[in-house]
């Protein structure tokens, strides 16, 4: 099979993985080497579906002995199969990188005959890139489900990021759709990656020359809407992973129909808005100081699709408003609907020198239609009257027609600002 045909098959097969970024790592190129990693990744191109192309995202092979219903490469799928050799992936990566097409490589794989063999080949790709090609660009390796800890420890020496996919929020979901996988096995892989990262951080603190292990940390992906599990199940799993496994990111991927899809899957994909709301909640929990009980109280199984999670929280906690923009502390400002992190910083800096006025909010391009009901500045007395009115929820409910256009799932995984 020609390399071109393999690429078509193995790129197509990899496009269902959500994470695409290369941010969070910095590495200068070695003298005479090729490639570096800047803090924020670069999108080198965009496809007509509006998504960015940053990494060469491919599978080593899409042959797989596993039969996970949600996966296009499951053994029971009738897709065309192909397998790259190690050298083919190395050459492809270098050829693309040298032309400035990509930031690096995101290599995943089906389980060709057993997890360890497949993982070993993936590691070999990364090793050759680093040692033989002096490649300093970004490398993300997917931990093959069920591969040994020893291999994971090796992988992290060459990869910037490792990820083991948790796949579905509950063990019961895995039992239904991916009976060969268990949360305990996946989390034990995560554990082993986490421990290696920790060890390496301790080592490098002592000896600057100590080998660095997966400096970009680890992430995971959860598929949303393939089973009946609720947003609460999903967010509980996500926050427990953030807490216990020290993950950099959890990616939420709305289950989408795949070619020749498994009859065990639901026929419709969940609204993209659900994925977007999950990303928003994720950001609230990671960066805005919220906890899961606030975002999804006991009696809320699912996030409100029509109101963003911060707005929903504010409407449930109206007694905490209005907030005075000229005096409220940072953590209170972060909880104001319509105020993102950057604007909170702007307000804090600017108000040292002069009072914030209503017109300033317009200039900052905050979401006036949300914020005006929740903050007191000089002249919005009229809007504040609505704070106690049941009408407010209706006013703030988003028009469904705007939703899909405005909010694009991959975009929200990057910005997530609320």
């Amino acid at each position: 099979m020609e390399i071109k045909d393999k690429l078509a098959i193995l790129a197509d097969a990899a496009k269902y993985d959500a994470s695409c970024g290369s941010s969070g790592v910095k590495r200068k190129a070695q003298a005479g080497g090729i490639g570096n990693v800047q803090g924020a990744g670069i999108c080198h191109s965009y496809t007509p579906d509006g998504r960015c192309v940053s990494l060469l995202k491919i599978l080593l092979t899409n042959f797989c002995i596993f039969d996970c219903s949600y996966c296009v490469n499951r053994v029971s799928s009738e897709v065309k199969r192909a397998k790259f050799t190690v050298d083919e992936v190395v050459k492809l990566t270098m050829d693309f990188y040298k032309r400035n097409y990509i930031e690096g490589l995101f290599l995943s794989s089906g389980v060709a005959n057993n997890p360890d063999n497949t993982m070993e080949e993936m590691i070999l790709v990364a090793k050759k890139l680093r040692l033989e090609e002096k490649f300093g660009g970004y490398i993300h390796l997917k931990a093959v489900a069920g591969c040994s800890d020893a291999l994971l420890r090796k992988a992290g020496l060459y990869a910037d990021r490792l990820s083991a996919n948790i796949e579905l929020p509950l063990q019961k979901d895995l039992d239904d759709l991916a009976p060969a996988k268990t949360h305990s096995e996946i989390e034990s892989s995560m554990n082993s990656i986490r421990e290696s990262i920790l060890e390496s951080q301790e080592e490098t603190a002592k000896f600057s020359k100590a080998p660095v292990f997966a400096p970009g940390g680890q992430s995971t992906q959860m598929i949303v809407g393939a089973t009946q599990s609720s947003d609460r199940d999903i967010m509980l799993k996500a926050s427990s992973l953030y807490e216990n496994q020290n993950l950099k990111r959890v990616y939420y991927s709305a289950f989408s129909p795949i070619p020749d899809s498994d009859p065990n899957l639901p026929l419709v994909s969940p609204p993209l808005m659900r994925e977007h709301r999950l990303y928003q909640s994720d950001w609230l929990i990671r960066l805005y100081g919220f906890n899961i009980q606030e975002v999804l109280p006991e009696d809320h199984e699912n996030l409100n699709l029509e109101l963003d999670p911060k707005l929903s929280w504010a409407l449930r906690n109206r007694h905490l408003f209005p907030v005075d923009l000229n005096s409220a502390p940072r953590e209170t400002l972060l909880r104001v609907p319509g105020l993102g992190i950057r604007n909170v910083e702007r307000i804090i800096e600017s108000r040292k020198f002069r009072k914030i006025r209503y017109e300033d909010l317009v200039k900052m391009r905050v979401q006036i239609q949300k914020i005006k009901f929740f903050v007191s500045v000089d002249d919005n007395k009229h809007d504040l009257k609505l704070l106690d009115s049941p009408l407010l929820t209706t006013i703030l409910t988003e028009k469904p027609s705007v939703q899909l256009d405005l909010f694009d799932a991959p975009v929200s995984s990057i910005t997530g600002e609320v």
Partner: protein
Amino acid sequence: MYNVRFAADFESWRIKAKQLLVSNIKPDEINWITEETGFHFGQEWTDIEVTDSPRIPREYFEAASVVSCFRDDSTWTLLYRIAWRILHEQRELLKISLDADVRELENRHKSVMRDLHKMKAFVRFKEVQQDGKILYVAWHRPDHRISRLAAPFFKDRFNGMNWIIMTEDETINWDQKSLTFSEGVSSHNAPSIDSAEDLWKTYYSSIFNPARIKIGAMKKEMPVRHWKTLPESELITSLIDEAPERLKVFYDSQRPNATQEKQLTYPEIKEALKSCRSCDICQKATGPVMGEGPLNARIMFIGEQPGNEEDQIGTPFIGPAGQLLEKALLKRGFNRNEIYITNAVKGFKWIYQSSMRLHRSANASEISACKPWLKQELNLIKPQIVVCLGRSAAQSILGKMVKMEEVRGKFFSSSVCDKTIILPHPSSILRIQNPNEREIAFNRFVEELGLIA
């Protein structure tokens, strides 16, 4: 009014601005002139010696050096006015992002940084041979005068290559030793072909999802003015045009879902099974063959699929393999009537050969298509022991391919039952040609059946 003439770069501007600030010249008293000739009202500024510099915060210089690349001459006036205001009005001016001048500075800063970012993203090198060496050449048109700002990035990233980036303003050269700048050139000086572009285009079209067309979002991030130098942009029109056809192929590949929303009773499953179209097997077979046995059975056997006889009569495991199973069960003191017996795939898959209907193994997608029916049976019977006979049944339950010799004959907990065991399919014993070996295989099977007693 003073006419201040300088080359349109930050360093030359800075030297003049310093003199003017020290001389207390107000912002609106200056004409900043970057072109060489041209008549302007006012008095020509003559250079003066400056000994001590005005005290301006470092942040200002950081921002100004970037904003000076903004391709609009009003920038010089803006930069001077802000410097003036920092000295005479408010030292912390830059922190007041709500101030109109500061906002304009920030906007222009953002615009230059965005252009810089796009240059890092959209420069496309082409590999050429020159004097026996490999050289990477790119032509790019930035919005602003950012070649000097961008050069260090490319030097660091493509350190081990010889490369040239041409722009209309300036050409950047890197020979793995030093970074040099030469005159700008127009786009037809760029090489036109490259050996990797074909693969890159293959990649680009393979990752495109035809179900979502968002041309606006694409153009916003990848402005059309840059398309000329992006090889992949040639594909955009055809990708969009072909999307409906690709989608049709995609949707045609979708199979109807056999999953039932609620738990059905035995007769309901049997009835519903008749109209299943999750795969094509049952259309060609006489009909689906549902599992049989007591609904309160303690043990459930799962085989592969009905054979020729089973298909005609409509009962599982009554052909040669079924008889062998029955014989083995009897040896262990089981009566088949106390066991619920079914198959992973409910229909008989066959080909016509030598005037016979010959059994064909169900493939993985057919096994998976039939799984919802098996799940209905499992949930209905709730067996305490599940016995998978053969690889197909094991694959259906485990969700992965297995090797029989590695997995057979030991109990484990699966997602459907705490006590699950895999044994070879009786028909695999029947297929053994040598009578002695067949005898051994049968005895081993009987022995393993003893585990479930």
